[in-house]
């Protein structure tokens, strides 16, 4: 079942007196529980597409439908609500809130809107997430007291705090050494299979591609390859079930 649907999406940015076409008409769907990788060289439109799926940007043309809602028809307030209820974000440079400790950073998205959880349930859930990302002993530490890998673990726990249907990760391993990066990917894969959360990555990292069950390759704002693999695929042969646009 598609949780994300892009229909002939185009995005044009003004650049001085000229315009840059970042995305030139892209259509694809993402199924619930997908572990999707969007790959491509710099400037191919990965981040733009991720931003549009993340409802922090809207298309110039075409439709982006997230959890059944056409984002082009929503105002800022509704888009913000949609982000809060459906989406979680993991950033390349972690983007933790420096004045909050690990626990508070993970708790932060839960405090923004109406939450169905009681205080006790919330606390239990946050502690579960912190334990799951292996930071049980670092609960009260501020981000500047953590290593890069630890920070990204906090970011993963934070992205999952609201139990979102989709987590968007923009080059999550780019600022980590390869060993830490692999651990982080394993963690996300584990969350993907345990919580059935849809993960959408933009990345250059081959180790993420290796575990992805859906890969979209972009070039110059267009899809050049859209590959589905059976869940748990080892990625050694991504061309199987490939759909050429």
């Amino acid at each position: 079942m598609a949780i994300v649907e892009l229909d002939n999406v185009k995005k044009v940015y003004p650049l001085g007196k000229t315009e840059v076409q970042a995305v030139k008409g892209v259509s694809f769907t993402i199924d619930k529980g997908d572990f999707l990788c969007i790959i491509g060289p710099s400037g191919s439109g990965k981040s733009t597409i991720l931003n549009m799926i993340g409802c922090i940007d809207v298309p110039t043309e075409g439709r982006v439908i997230i959890a059944g809602k056409d984002t082009g028809k929503l105002n800022d307030f509704q888009l913000t609500e949609l982000r809060h209820q459906v989406l979680g974000f993991i950033f390349q440079s972690f983007n933790l809130i420096p004045v909050l400790n690990v626990y508070e950073n993970v708790e932060f998205p839960l405090l923004l809107g109406k939450s169905a959880m009681s205080k006790a349930e919330r606390s239990e859930w946050i502690n579960y997430l912190i334990d799951a990302v292996g930071l049980a002993d670092w609960r009260r530490h501020k981000p500047n007291e953590l290593s890069g890998g630890q920070r990204q673990r906090v970011a993963i726990a934070r992205a999952l705090a609201t139990k979102p249907q989709i987590v968007l990760a923009d080059e999550p391993t780019a600022n980590l050494d390869s060993k830490t990066g692999e651990t982080i990917i394993e963690l996300m894969k584990k969350m993907n299979s345990e919580l059935h959360t849809t993960f959408v990555f933009s990345t250059h990292d081959s180790s993420i591609m290796a575990v992805a069950d859906h890969i979209i390759r972009l070039q110059d704002g267009l899809i050049v390859e859209n590959v589905h693999r059976s869940a748990g695929g080892n990625g050694r042969n991504p061309s199987e079930a490939a759909v050429k646009p």
């Binding site: 993340g54 922090i56 974000f89 983007n95 909050l100 508070e104 923004l112």
Partner: protein
């Protein structure tokens, strides 16, 4: 605590030096205005207190009668009405003094000058003796029945020193000329600085010179437990006297902070005339009787507030200057706040993008900035209040002798600072409103940032 409030509070501690400087500037402004306001409020109380001892009370009731020949005699012979009126306000009254006074021509050698002489019961008015600032002689000479305490400007004018004897020519209540001899036992400062300090003599001796009937008096003066009840008590007395006897119109001066409610020139003239007559009656000046004849004693009631115009005008100016300085300081501080928050906006653009992407609404982003401004403003204001309190306490402990002119503004040689909650609250409100105003534009700009643009920022 709501997350936005918590984040805002912690944000104030991110750049401690910057927050400290901003808060420090606010603290300085609050400190200045608080000290000046408390100083002027304390000064008013001290002046009223000191003046009340010199004048002999907080409320003054005088009486005048019409002789058979149509002459105005300053005296209260019908004491029963006054006694009845005083019963109504008994719980408020601490002490009742009686005084007589006369405008006399003081003569020493070939020099002479006109000044008010007041007859005082020194046994009862020990506070007056304590408040006088003696520059020559001593009060020991008060044992003599004709002893006189002379204010310094008059002594200088006459060229007299303590221990010498002067003559006083005055009119008895029936209009005959009389001359008395006075022994100058002490010379005192004119603490009012506007010549309102009388020459004090023994009440009995002056009454003799004025040919007052035994048991009658010219003026009754009330000390109240609480000065704040002055107008209320005087209104009750005036109401009673008006109902049972003839009264002079009250000098309705609304002196506080220059908010004079005089409506037109005619009204102003009327008030001035009433004021002049009552002042003359109390301090012994003469004036032409141009009123309709009346029966019995005609009363006049005045309060200390009626004399306070020069002081209140000065305080009003001082407070206005302080407020203007405070506002100028605030404007400078507000420019600082606006600039700082613009800087903060740039520094935290990516953080704003992050918070927005997790579902923080625009108004919450704006409120984080505004709360941060409130915390800095409140922190600075509270520090300023605390520092002001410390300074006022320390200065209040210092005893300043040797400044006789200042003594009238002090309480036994100490400056008094009276913190007025209403003015503190008003200043805090002005400060908070201006702080919020200064932070509003950057806060709104932060709220309006597009999340995608904010996340792309590389600062």
């Amino acid at each position: 605590m709501k997350p936005i409030v918590r984040i805002a509070f912690r944000n104030t501690q991110r750049q401690r030096k910057r927050s400290f400087l901003l808060g420090g500037a606010i603290a300085f402004g609050v400190l200045v205005i608080t000290i000046i306001n408390a100083f002027t409020a304390g000064m008013i109380v001290n002046v009223k207190n000191n003046f009340s001892f010199i004048a002999g009370g907080h409320i003054f009731i005088s009486g005048k009668e019409l002789s058979d020949s149509g002459r105005v005699i300053t005296a209260i012979n019908d004491t029963a009405i006054v006694d009845e009126s005083l019963k109504l306000v008994e719980p408020f009254v601490k002490k009742v003094n009686k005084r007589s006074s006369s405008l006399a021509q003081l003569i020493f050698g070939s020099w002479e000058t006109n000044h008010t002489i007041e007859g005082v019961d020194w046994q009862k008015e020990e506070e007056l003796a304590a408040k006088l600032v003696i520059t020559d002689g001593s009060l020991e000479g008060l044992a003599k029945p004709n002893a006189m305490v002379l204010p310094k400007p008059i002594a200088r004018r006459l060229g007299v020193v303590a221990g010498e004897t002067i003559l006083a020519r005055l009119s008895t209540i029936t209009g005959q000329q009389n001359v008395g001899e006075f022994y100058v036992t002490a010379i005192v400062e004119d603490q009012t600085n506007f010549g309102a300090t009388s020459a004090y003599v023994h009440l009995d001796y002056l009454n003799d010179l004025l040919s007052l009937n035994s048991g009658s008096y010219q003026m009754i003066l009330l000390f109240l437990h609480d000065m704040a009840t002055m107008d209320q008590v005087s209104n009750v007395i005036y109401g009673y006297l008006k109902e049972h006897a003839e009264v002079d119109p009250r000098v309705q001066l609304d002196l506080y902070m220059g908010s004079n409610k005089k409506e037109d020139a005619e009204k102003e003239e009327e008030i001035y005339e009433a004021e002049r007559k009552v002042m003359a009656q109390i301090f012994g000046g003469g004036y032409m009787n141009d009123e309709e004849p009346w029966e019995g004693t005609k009363f006049a009631v005045m309060t200390l507030n009626d004399f306070m115009q020069p002081v209140m005008a000065m305080v009003g100016i001082l407070n206005t200057v302080a407020l203007v300085v405070f506002l100028i300081l605030l404007v400078i501080i507000m420019v600082g706040i606006t600039n700082t928050f613009r800087m903060i906006l740039i520094e935290r653009t990516r953080e704003i993008g992050t918070m927005r992407s997790f579902g923080m609404q625009q108004k919450d982003v704006r409120n984080i900035f505004l709360w941060e401004a409130v915390f800095i403003g409140l922190g600075g204001a509270l520090s300023g209040l605390f520092l002001a309190w410390v300074i006022m306490t320390v200065v209040g402990f210092i005893k300043l002798d040797g400044y006789p002119v200042l003594q009238f503004f002090m309480n036994n040689g100490h400056f008094t600072f009276l913190i007025q909650p209403a003015s503190v609250i008003m200043n805090l409100l002005i400060l908070l409103v201006m702080t919020l105003f200064a932070a509003y534009m950057p806060a709104r700009a932060a709220a309006r940032l597009r999340p995608a643009d904010a996340l792309r920022a590389h600062y």
